[in-house]
């Protein structure tokens, strides 16, 4: 970075220290991925020696913003200033040289390397290409000892527990002197004691003048650590406040913000037969343990929970995408053992994945083919193009696809239209049980409302809808009955007037008595 003066610099209106330039200042940052807007107008001002918490619901744009700060993505617009100097063309390497280190949820560790190799990856100590393994081992040991992490530098990283990998990741971020440290849900996999040690470390770094950007959903630790809190909603910075005196209730209000009652249709509730019954369901990978639930015809059964609580895995197991180790599934009163999607479709169960790009759609193919994909076996080996076209056209019209051209490649569509193509699949064959995994993630508000209307229509026509969502207002408003999951177990079943934010959050943030 060029060495120049800070003459023309004026601190942002929300900068707490108005005298010195803030360590990091972002304003008006925008970022789109294809047709999806991840950030619209995000701003953040970080001062040295403070902990700045980024708060927002899933999909509010927190991870996009920290990726921009760390140089992984370039912003589409807005300004990015480090020490009062505008920064352009940032890459992860340059960010690191400038003292910006990030600890992401997806680890930047190579599982097949040893701990010390990972710590020094990309900045090995060497003389003419010959590694100085001794020096690296000593330094790695020194850093790990200094941080109080009980990890051997010679262990293979992939053999470590997730908590230990998290520690390696943190150690890696601190190998070089840092000015800005980004921590993305750093306590997600840590035990109580490890969390305390991490907090002590954060306190120490703050005292040393490091600016820390901290992303977390855990209200208690936000209150424990934060100096300042910036709230993101739908890709925009809503407010930025001093953390002194905030309460957990206040944080929830900040995070969820406006009530968008208008967005959610009134779901008629006419519970009929139990179409899907799970009892004692446990998966081979232990992400789900002893889950029992019922989904009835004519109602929306919601499953809420934090990311990684196993809520998606439950419905994926029903569709045959996860291996069940024990427990039973009954479908329309009959015992059912899931063996794969083809079997599930034949049995009248349809699953809509959250990752529509990876698991849902063939991006290069037209809407028509994508929509009819799940019903290929009904065409008896011969695709009757004309019939297919008129049927899919009618279906897409019903879903209000705009523009109404079913020959467009799915890759050119926005998130909302892509979801409509997915939904059309559920209408191409007789289906009674609809399993939705995060149906509105990454789509804009208008398309959301249409997806909700679609759910309402399904329920009105007597289908059983299971809605898995991390979007709290969504499951709160749409569910006739709501299960809350926590660490692979059902923590609560709520009905009617009990379905409130307070009830659900109480289950989310219940302390683990383990």
């Amino acid at each position: 970075m060029a060495d120049s003066h800070n003459g023309g610099f004026t601190p942002g209106p929300d900068g707490p220290g108005a005298e010195a330039p803030p360590l990091l200042m972002l304003s008006g940052i925008g970022k789109r991925f294809g047709g999806v807007r991840a950030l619209g107008n995000a701003s953040l001002t970080l001062t040295a020696g403070s902990v700045h918490v980024l708060l927002g619901e899933n999909g509010a744009g927190k991870s996009t913003l920290i990726n921009i700060i760390a140089g992984s993505f370039g912003p589409d617009g807005g300004t990015y200033c480090l020490d009062g100097q505008p920064v352009r063309g940032l890459t992860p390497q340059r960010a690191r040289q400038a003292g910006i280190s990030a600890v992401f949820q997806e680890f930047s560790l190579a599982p097949n390397l040893t701990v010390e190799e990972n710590l020094f990856l990309g900045r090995e100590r060497h003389r003419l290409g010959v590694l100085d393994r001794r020096a690296m081992r000593l330094r790695a040991q020194a850093v790990l000892d200094d941080l109080g992490f009980d990890i051997s530098p010679r262990q293979r990283t992939g053999d470590l527990s997730r908590a230990h990998q998290q520690m390696v990741e943190i150690a890696k971020a601190l190998m070089d002197p840092v000015k800005v440290l980004i921590l993305d849900e750093p306590t997600a996999s840590l035990t109580e004691a490890e969390t305390e040690r991490l907090f002590a470390l954060v306190d120490r770094l703050r005292a040393e003048g490091v600016g820390i950007i901290y992303v977390s959903h855990r209200l208690r630790e936000i209150i424990r650590l934060a100096d300042r809190i910036t709230v993101l909603r739908d890709g925009c910075t809503v407010t930025s406040i001093d953390a002194a005196g905030v309460t957990e209730d206040g944080l929830v209000e900040l995070m969820t913000g406006r009530k968008m009652e208008a967005l959610y249709p009134q779901i008629p509730h006419a519970p009929g037969d139990a179409l899907l019954e799970l009892s004692g369901l446990t998966l081979a990978n232990r992400t789900v343990e002893d889950v029992s639930l019922i989904a009835r015809a004519g109602e929306i059964t919601g499953i809420a929970g934090l990311v990684g609580c196993g809520k998606s895995e439950v419905i994926r197991a029903v569709y045959g995408l996860e291996t069940v180790s024990s427990g039973s599934i009954r479908l329309k009163g009959q015992a059912y053992s899931p063996s794969g999607p083809a079997r599930a479709l034949t049995a009248g169960v349809c699953y809509f994945p959250s990752d529509r790009v990876a698991e849902g759609l063939a991006l290069g193919r037209p809407i028509r083919e994508n929509a009819s994909m799940a019903a290929l076996d009904r065409q008896r080996g011969v695709v009757r193009r004309g019939q297919e076209r008129s049927f899919i056209k009618a279906t897409m019209d019903r879903l209000r696809l705009r523009p109404a051209n079913i020959e467009r490649a799915v890759g050119t569509l926005s998130g909302g239209n892509r979801q409509k193509v997915m939904l059309a699949r559920g209408l191409t064959r007789p289906t009674q049980v609809f399993l939705f995994d995060e149906p509105t993630v990454g789509i804009d508000v208008g398309a959301k409302a249409e997806v909700y209307d679609f759910l309402r229509d399904l329920v009105r026509d007597g289908a059983a809808v299971v809605l898995v969502s991390s979007d709290l207002p969504e499951v709160l408003h749409l569910s006739n009955r709501l299960y809350v999951m926590h660490r692979g177990h059902i923590a609560a079943e709520l009905t009617g007037a009990d379905i409130t934010e307070a009830q659900v959050l109480a289950c989310f943030f219940q302390e683990d008595v383990a």
Partner: protein, 340 residues
């Protein structure tokens, strides 16, 4: 084929668990090799003869050098179908240049130098094309190396019309290719030196962790500042150079440059060797010492089949079965890991 088990197993309950742990400690390959050698030594009197053993080692050494190159590419998560064709290319280009310079009346030393440089250069160009297409153009390694395989063997055939290139300096053939050093064939000695060089590179230079990081977690390597493209290209060039060296060694031994050397069979054997040696097809793991053992293992099997007069066509079937079995075991080992 590497069998990985959780190291934190408190107490293996069953005998099969104990056995698996023991196998995991030493590795399956050395045990299989010892067992195979023991059975052959007991049942086949000709097996332990000095000439036969040297024969096995000579076959193994050629294969090991090509397979160690293949390993480099596998470590970065690719693979190279062109190695066999590069062997043929370096043999014909090297021999043509060598014979040409020798015929022009230059000193044999100059002719050998020019020939080796031409052979290595031709191979390196193929490696560079492979590496650049994969790393920069992001073409799948399968398609790129399938293409260069065809092109390289085409050039080798065009250059020679399928006729062996003679006229190599005597010093290259009898003085080097057929020489015996320390009681061992020269090719074996050279191969051991090359494998040693690869081992040192893997353990003691930047290339070791860099190549494994690229294959182990590309994104992690990138955000850690590893020159991902550079190392990918380097792996393909290294692979092609090792294949070219093999081509030159074979040329020196048989005394002529031939477009029929190497070929698809050697490509297959090199991949089989690497996979048997525990080099992961998903990238990120592989040790040259194990590759050398893997080459000896395949050479012993092929020798055993020769001694018991198994038809060479049937041997191809066996090789195919071994390759598939090794890959399947690798896959099973991986799955066991994931569940841990």
């Amino acid at each position: 084929m590497s069998v990985h088990l959780p190291s934190h197993h408190p107490q293996p309950q069953q005998f099969s668990d104990r056995l698996m742990l023991a196998v995991a400690g030493i590795g399956l390959l050395p045990l299989l090799l010892v067992a195979l050698v023991a059975v052959l030594a007991l049942t086949e009197p000709r097996f332990l003869g000095a000439v036969n053993l040297l024969n096995i080692l000579r076959t193994a050494s050629v294969l090991a050098v090509v397979a160690s190159g293949q390993m480099l590419v596998l470590i970065v998560g690719g693979f190279d179908l062109s190695v066999g064709a590069v062997v043929a290319l370096s043999s014909t280009v090297g021999a043509t240049a060598m014979a040409g310079v020798a015929a022009s009346g230059a000193s044999p030393a100059l002719a050998v130098t020019a020939g080796c440089a031409a052979g290595l250069g031709a191979g390196a160009v193929v490696g560079l094309v492979n590496g650049l297409c994969v790393a920069v153009l992001k073409v799948s390694p399968f398609m790129v190396t399938l293409g260069t395989m065809s092109a390289a063997s085409g050039v080798a055939l065009l250059l020679t019309n399928g006729i062996p290139v003679y006229g190599l300096p005597d010093g290259f053939v009898s003085g080097f290719g057929r020489a015996v050093w320390l009681g061992l064939p020269s090719a074996l000695v050279v191969s051991v030196v090359l494998l040693g060089a690869v081992a040192v590179m893997q353990r003691h230079t930047l290339a070791g962790p860099a190549l494994r990081a690229v294959g182990g977690n590309l994104q992690a390597a990138r955000v850690s500042g590893v020159a991902v493209r550079g190392w990918t290209v380097a792996a393909y060039v290294g692979c092609a150079v090792l294949a070219s060296l093999t081509g030159l060694l074979l040329t020196a031994r048989i005394g002529s440059g031939q477009a029929s050397l190497g070929g698809l069979n050697m490509t297959m054997e090199s991949i089989a060797t690497a996979v048997i040696a525990g080099v992961s097809l998903r990238g990120g793991a592989g040790r040259v010492e194990m590759v050398a053992l893997g080459a000896v293992f395949l050479a012993v099997i092929s020798n055993a089949m020769n001694l018991s007069r198994v038809d060479s066509k049937a041997q191809l079937v066996v090789l195919g079965v071994i390759l598939i079995a090794a890959v399947a075991l690798d896959e099973l080992g991986k799955r066991r890991r994931v569940r841990v």
